[in-house]
């Protein structure tokens, strides 16, 4: 079996500062990988490098494409990479506003990726949009409303629908529950877990919320100062942390 995504020695500097250094791992089909660490530990830099938003200084990000098998997305041509990010990849931003078109109705937001890959039948696009809004628990009657009229949790769910409508195989999530209150977080996590299991998605979730990875991730990577300090099965890392920083991180969680 080939890994869906193989990250090999990805390094990114910001001038003399290290963004992330020498990160390598394999992501297998259907697997959810969590990346945790404090602010400034290089999680988001790593995610941006993997998703093609940033060019790494060195290293390779090999994705198992449908057509040509494993290909390095760092060296592939820009049209190819952008095609991937419209079809097989999805990117869920922390702030829904970054991932949505706020001036376009909910239906248009969901339909955009379909139209970007060539859908030209209004009725079909709208049917799919209704279907996806229902799957993320947004009433179909809101389809023609703009996201500006939605609550934060609804915007985040809309962003997820918009990303998953083309049936991607790999989802990048940057703090998907950040900025939401806990009850909304719980519903969103429940929804995400259902979608990931039903669709057999692979996902990479960057977060500083250990509860999120406990619930969603199969495997966990802990980052500090741009480097991976510990990696392993989620339960193993969280229940028996080996590295001093991981121990600190786990013990810092407030117990209610």
């Amino acid at each position: 079996m080939t890994p869906l995504l193989s990250v090999q020695g990805v390094t990114r500097h910001y001038g003399a500062q290290i963004g992330c250094a020498d990160v390598s791992f394999d992501l297998w089909p259907g697997e959810v990988m969590g990346i945790v660490g404090e602010s400034g530990s290089g999680k988001s830099t790593l995610l941006a490098c993997m998703a093609g938003h940033l060019a790494p200084d060195s290293g390779a990000v090999v994705f198992d494409t449908r057509a040509d098998g494993p290909k390095d997305t760092v060296t592939m041509s820009e049209p190819e990479r952008r095609m991937l990010s419209r079809t097989d990849w999805a990117f869920v931003h922390q702030h829904a506003r970054d991932g949505l078109r706020m001036g376009v109705s909910a239906g248009g937001n969901v339909g955009e990726r379909l139209m970007a890959v060539g859908a030209r039948h209004y009725g079909d696009i709208r049917g799919k949009a209704v279907d996806w809004l229902e799957r993320v628990e947004i009433a179909a009657t809101r389809i023609d409303d703009r996201p500006t009229t939605f609550s934060g949790g609804m915007q985040q769910r809309l962003q997820i629908a918009r990303n998953l409508v083309t049936g991607p195989r790999l989802v990048f999530m940057d703090e998907p529950t950040g900025g939401l209150d806990v009850s909304v977080q719980a519903r969103l996590l429940d929804l995400l877990r259902g979608l990931v299991r039903d669709m057999g998605l692979s996902a990479i979730i960057v977060t500083h919320d250990l509860a999120v990875v406990r619930l969603l991730a199969d495997r966990l990577m802990v980052m500090k100062d741009g480097r991976v300090v510990e990696a392993g099965l989620t339960d193993q890392v969280l229940d028996d942390p080996q590295h001093a920083y991981t121990q600190l991180l786990v013990s810092s969680v407030l117990q209610v």
Binding site: S105, G111, E112, D144
Partner: protein, 285 residues
């Protein structure tokens, strides 16, 4: 009344060469927006500075020049641009479409079919069809170069979801030769079919935005649409009140304070020609 202190057609020869190079590049890549060093012209932006520069660059002393503004030869914009070139170039002018060799137009294509050898110059306010969907110019250029036009359909989708049909009625986006998506300038979508397979050269000049683009003769131009909501050129459902024409684009004109209105051809030359040939509408005096 030629003003000899100006170079022929106002612009200096080097500037005209620069504009001609942009025009040639535009003709070589139909629908592609070519940047050019737009000059200050003795008229405000929005009055057709782009069109005037393109007209000046293609004009020869033997040309016969026509200017239309929303189809009319006798509105302020048309009259002032016509007299501008009369003064600075001394070219012959006309209001008859068939006699003109260079036609500068604001927001219409003449009703009379154009022929080989004619040049139609459009005044363009905003050349970028994706502008109101994607504000970053760096991004829209990339979208053009990578042929990523899904967003254009999002606009049409929004139209249908809000109005039940594609409500965009002017500046209706088109695809040129299956490659570039182009803003045809704010012509009514009624005129869109005339863009395609046209024997005349069509040049588009945007002065403030510093872009020139072009359609060489007999270029295939397709209006964007959905399979279940096909493109439909539309016009007011009336005959012309003055000449009775059923097939021309109409302006609605309010004629009194009591809500009285008549529909007349927006192309004044077309309407006058038909009236001279004896056609009469119901509102003709």
């Amino acid at each position: 009344m030629t003003d000899d202190t100006y170079n022929f057609a106002y612009l200096d020869e080097q500037t005209k060469r620069m504009i001609r190079r942009a025009i040639l590049k535009g003709l070589a890549i139909p629908g592609y927006q070519v940047p050019f060093a737009s000059r200050e012209m003795p008229m405000p932006y929005g009055w057709g500075t782009g069109g005037v520069q393109v007209s000046a660059a293609v004009m020869t002393p033997e040309d016969r020049f026509k200017v239309i503004d929303q189809g009319a030869d006798d509105t302020t914009n048309a009259v002032s641009i016509r007299s501008f070139f009369q003064r600075t170039a001394g070219v012959a002018t006309t209001t008859t479409t068939a006699e003109a060799t260079v036609i500068q137009t604001r927001h219409r294509i003449p009703e009379a079919p154009l022929t080989e050898g004619q040049i139609l110059v459009y005044q363009v306010p905003i050349p970028e069809p994706l502008r109101f969907l994607e504000p970053r110019e760096s991004e829209t250029r990339k979208m053009h170069s990578l042929e990523e036009y899904g967003l254009m359909h999002v606009k049409l989708y929004e139209d249908i979801s809000r109005h039940g049909h594609i409500a965009t009625s002017y500046a209706y986006p088109v695809k040129v030769e299956g490659r570039y998506v182009m803003d045809p300038s704010p012509i009514p979508k009624f005129d869109n079919p005339k863009l395609s397979d046209c024997p005349a050269i069509q040049l588009f000049g945007a002065g403030r935005e510093q872009r020139i683009y072009a359609l060489p003769p007999y270029t295939r131009v397709v209006s964007l649409d959905f399979e279940d909501h096909p493109f439909e050129p539309s016009k007011a459902d009336h005959p012309c009140g003055l000449c009775g024409a059923e097939d021309s684009y109409l302006d609605e004109v309010i004629v009194d304070d009591a809500g009285g209105r008549i529909f007349v051809c927006s192309d004044t030359d077309h309407c006058e020609g038909r009236q001279a040939a004896g056609h009469r509408g119901k509102d003709a005096a």
